[in-house]
Symmetry: C2
Subunit: 418 residues, 2 copies
């Protein structure tokens, strides 16, 4: 028999504590969960100094390691970011309890009432990269939905994450089992492997981070994973588009916040409107690098787009542009290169709108609206734990309701099956 | 570069055909899907001779291989079973289309209408063992829900399954792409591995069969799996039970059809009612082998239960019996040994009923009703592709609605994000 490694033992211990906590959380009252979350908000406010000190340790290490200024910015817990975390936790406390909702009900011919009711999922493993606020946001959402969570953050934010998790655990103790939230303090990378293979312990894995992290988790996992993967979002400007509207939407989708997953990456233009639209677009998107196919470059100045550009999630002020022969070619391009995140059509033609909405396989399909609206809070869900690009269980913004499962209750009076 | 094996190439070919078919199925009209299914029903009726001949090849091989009579029975396509398949397909054709349902809708503050609407999942891989009727049942459910399906049945039913799949494909051709349904005709076991690792091609894997099959699929899969695992179902007879009702329920749950996953396997009896219940139970369940813990055997004659018995899914006229000190001990036993399938309490105490329903983690929880009611048709869903013991996406009976995903449609008039 092989001797378990320290990390294997640690994950097993965290796992059994999480299972025990999840059983208590599943029957926790709404008031207890909300009181616990409000105590977390107070704990964060009272813990600003400790958080700043822990964060400074991470920042010093990041500077020593020569991390980019963008990375260091993401790591930094400014007072405003702590305010935002506190506000976020308070908002989650104020939201309706997603557990115990009656999703449907019916009466069996023999008289039993059958109720389908929402319940917690159980134990969730959250595996994420640098931003420390994920520690609080994810823990608050999981706990509100009655789930125990095991957090495994990035090494570069280790001190900040540990300090945040400590505050969370201490704050909830009076109301809920503290093991509702646990943090993997051992930096051994094998911890991720043990976590995502903990069959019978962890019910769901949510990875958040870059492509490498998500691929590694997906390949190793033996339990369900809901991926929050990249957004290679398209806007297709149809032959029947209102071109002034198209310009507004393309500008907004590309430039309003280019570094996020619902930003536009590739523009598809119907050949019949390319000559009119593209010059106006080039003038409008002055600060944006355009990478066009051959037909685009016949109309405007642009760098040459390669095959890689159609796959690219730039997250930057770069836009790939392709002129397509037809509606169907646009659909084919999206089916080939899209990431099933968010796709948009600009068209005044009702038939084209309907066909686009039905034919495009994506979490969200926009008709004459910016891709930037694909977001839990824009969709009225409040906080989200991420945007799922998977099709099972949760698709698109994943809020509190998506962090629940359900069970069937059958209320009888001695009925037996004939 | 390694040379692809014949089975790898075959699975890749089936996969790309399935993806192409799924794009056409996603936009197929309800009438076309229903006409296709009714044509399948006619095709099965017209194909009885061919089916009998194919089935006879499997049966001859089974007899030569010395398979058990139970196995041979499961393999056999009797005229009555063909009738049942035909009737099942007709029923699925008559059911409402699960695609295109408006699941919720809202209006954004800027005026866009946001609609959450059901859509097909995409490509489903169905991996199953001996019963050939699964070929038709699964294919009909998948196609009605707009999914392409790749079927990989057991080797012992290869001729029967291939004949059934041929009839299905030929029948739908006039209405839908025939590649909506494909059958893995290469018996190489590596085909299962390639199928469950076809990331970006297969969207969901549904294994149906014994524990070995399900474990193998789960360990190898790189895409979501919904498991239809064993049912170690309990009935807990509370201190406050109506004992006459308890006897009826235990008898029905154990004996009405012992070979199925929602049959009772372990009876838990509160110590306060053990002396009265157990002798009556032993008399009533005369043909059932009882395996009891020590306290049970102090009251009635029973074989000794070992630790294995608490884990056992007998699927036979055997019942494990344990006397518990308290309600909480019953809950703990179920948490430790239950399979999250179906659990029941017999009690007249409203508080105990509520606590049981909330605390027990299972797809279905029965109050004063037999575990045998856990079934898609009893729950009013019509046909089911199986009973999920997972908690993600679908839990419990998995019918047409559970074979869909959803997308968000955002209908705008040029809105951009401020």
């Amino acid at each position: 028999m092989s001797v378990p490694t320290p990390i294997a033992e640690r994950i097993a211990e965290l796992g059994s504590r999480a299972v025990a906590a999840s059983r208590r959380l599943a029957i926790a009252e709404t008031d207890a969960k909300n009181a616990a979350l409000n105590a977390v908000a107070e704990g964060l406010d009272a813990g600003r100094e400790a958080l700043a000190a822990a964060n400074e340790l991470d920042l010093a290490a990041a500077r020593d390691a020569g991390l980019s200024s963008a990375m260091i910015d993401r790591l930094t817990l400014t007072p405003a970011r702590i305010d935002a975390m506190i506000e976020g936790v308070r908002q989650i406390a104020a939201m309706p309890d997603p557990v115990g909702r009656e999703l449907s009900s019916s009466t069996h011919r023999l008289g039993m009432k059958i109720v389908k009711r929402s319940v917690p999922i159980g134990v969730i493993a959250m595996i994420y990269e640098s931003r420390p606020n994920v520690t609080i946001d994810a823990a608050a959402l999981c706990v509100k939905a009655g789930n125990a969570v095991i957090l495994r953050g990035g090494r570069e934010a280790a001190h900040s994450n540990a300090a945040l998790a400590d505050i969370f655990r201490a704050a909830i103790m009076e109301h809920l089992p503290e093991d509702a939230v646990q943090f993997v303090d051992n930096p051994d990378r094998a911890g991720v492997t043990h976590l995502v293979q903990a069959v019978g312990v962890v019910d769901l894995v949510i990875p958040r981070g870059g492509e490498g992290l998500i691929r590694a988790v997906t390949e190793q996992a033996r339990i369900p994973v809901i991926k929050h993967y990249k957004g290679v979002c398209h806007v297709y400007v149809d032959r029947d588009a209102n071109l002034a509207e198209a310009l507004e939407i393309v500008d907004n989708a590309k430039c309003q916040r280019p570094g996020v997953c619902n930003a536009l990456e590739t523009l598809l233009v119907h050949q019949d409107v390319a000559d009119e639209l593209l010059p106006a677009l080039a003038a409008r998107l002055e600060g944006v690098e355009l990478r066009g196919d051959e037909r685009t470059r016949e109309v405007i100045d642009a760098n040459e787009a390669s095959e890689d550009d159609w796959h690219a999630e730039y997250l930057d002020l770069i836009l790939a542009v392709r002129v397509v022969d037809s509606f169907d070619d646009a659909i084919d391009h999206i089916a080939t290169y899209g990431s099933r995140h968010t796709e948009a059509i600009v068209s005044e033609n009702a038939d084209a709108q309907q066909r686009f909405v039905r034919a495009v396989d994506a979490a969200a399909v926009m008709v004459n609206a910016s891709t930037r609206f694909m977001d839990g809070s824009e969709f009225g869900m409040g906080a989200e734990i991420g945007i799922s690009t998977d099709k099972l269980h949760a698709r698109g913004p994943m809020g509190l309701n998506e962090l629940t499962s359900y069970k069937y209750e059958v209320w009888g009076e001695g009925q037996t099956r004939p």
